[in-house]
Amino acid sequence: MSLIQINKVTKIYDGTAVPVKALNNVDLKIEAGEFTAIVGPSGSGKTTLLNIVGGLDIPTSGNVIIDNVDISTYKPDELVNFRLHHIGFVFQAYNLIPVFTAKENVEFIMLLQGLVKAEREKRATELLNAVGLGDRVNNKPSELSGGQQQRIAVARALASKPSFVLADEPTANLDSATADSLLDLMENLNKEFNMTFVFSTHDQRVISRAHRIITLHDGAVERDELIKQNQ
């Protein structure tokens, strides 16, 4: 059974004068350990697909099965809980809690999960060391560079021990060197821990590292290319 199964998912936004079909009958399977990029021009449905896979939005028709669970049937509260325990998120604008330190940001997800303090602190320290920010644990986001903040966001995404990480344009705000460094980090996590990453991106640097590239166009899968076999 695949880690993520997207079955005939259609999403229509009908809040506007003319209903917009953002996704059109999308069928996809993503296996554990994949390092997959979803690409396509603006408006092709990348972010909508990511939102639906992440349980942030619900499909108009079709369903999404993650870890053998059909999340399309979940109520909003159940989805929050599901996201907390199964999905890690990395956002384009980092979106860390500005008043928390790096360590507190990483710990916060584990606090929501109900982990005890000692365990939270231990794992947060390990994750920050893993993303190369062991010496910045007590810095607040505003005291760190964009690249460092995005590394914290990765550490935060991994803190909940998710089944996979969804990253929406993670390198869009980073310079080349920082983006490469971040991608190195995510590649290593993928290799060492078999962590599944699904990116939506325009960034050629991300696309060039992806093992699988899914191209969307007008809400439908135009191409699905396997570049590199998972290790």
Binding site: N51, G54, L56, D57, D77, V80, N81, R83, L84, H85, F89, F91, N95, I97, P98, V99, F100, E104, E107, F108, I109, L111, L112, Q113, R156, S160
Partner: protein
Amino acid sequence: MLTYVTLAWRNLWRNKRRTLIASASVFFAVILALLMRSMQTGYYDYMIDSSVRMYTGHIQIQGKDYWEKRSLEESMILEEEKIKLVEQIEGVELTVKRLETFSLISYGLVTRVVQIVGIDPNEENQLTSLKDKIIKGVYLKNDSRGIILAEGLAELLKVGIGDSILIYGQGLYGVTAAELIPVQGIARFTLPSQNKSFAYVSIPYAQWIYSAPERLTSLSIMIDNPKQLDRIHQKIKSLFDLSDGKENDTYDIMSWRELSPELVQSIQIDNAQGIIMLGILYIVIAFGIFGTIMMMTAERVKEFGILISVGMKKWKLYLVTTLETMFISFIGVLTGALVSLPLLIYFVNNPIPLTGEMADAILAWGFEPILPFAIYPGMFIAQVWTVLAIALVSGLYPINFIRKIKPVEAMRG
């Protein structure tokens, strides 16, 4: 929980100036409100205390219907054992016996209607400090057979110490009461009506003049804590078998509220005005807090979306935003109360002296022209409750806002 408290607390200081301005508005409102309430309450306490010490006492036992008819026919016999039982009630400080009636007083060609008050000199002095008001002559003793006249009355009659005046009136059961009495002392009263129409004799002498042996028209009772008034009032009533609305043919037992209804009314009117002022003040404060909370909420829509996305349940966000509202409010209320406390203590110990027309008006009532203050824990508790209520109501806004948030839309900003 501590993490949510920390998060809420740190969120406040993202915009220090705004938080400080919002808290400062509460701070100044609390100081103003406490000063107002302290001044009002202090003034009421002072008016009540002055009023009861001037004459009535906190509670009076009177002969049935005496209050309405003011006649010796409605006087009472109150056994010493009964008085002792009253004095033994916890909180009773003093009892003062009186026999009062109206009579004519003549000296030479001048005659006046005067309120003759038969007193136990020692008890009366403890209640009204009558001895201190003597400006000429000497104070009464229990066996004195002289009279003390109010200064204004003595001037009207043109009498001095040692002159004998004639009392002419009606004693108990229509008996004629007439007596030639030497003026033993002259007392000065601040209340003009009292200063022109009061005269005092010892109670045994009054009972003899008016042929009313063992009779009293009232027993005034002072208590040591006015807050215990209702309890003691009820206790005395039960002593006289008057509790639970029962009627008694011999006695009426009245509190100062019934004895001085005009004072009660003036306090109620003033208090209502004060409460309206406080209400206006707190409405202004509520808008200040609400405005701040609205801004704090509106500028964090994206952040709320992110937090919900990564797995924070909405009720936890409600908790954080409610804590933020509480913090803003309580920084103001606690610092306001802390700063107010020494201020109020100072004013309680150093009442503001009044001058000019206001002072004259207060003097005319027979009170010292000062603006006293009072401190009760209840005043501070009331502020905390009021601000808590404002905070809770203001806190409903972010809760409602977050309730409607859809994470995808919120993250778009």
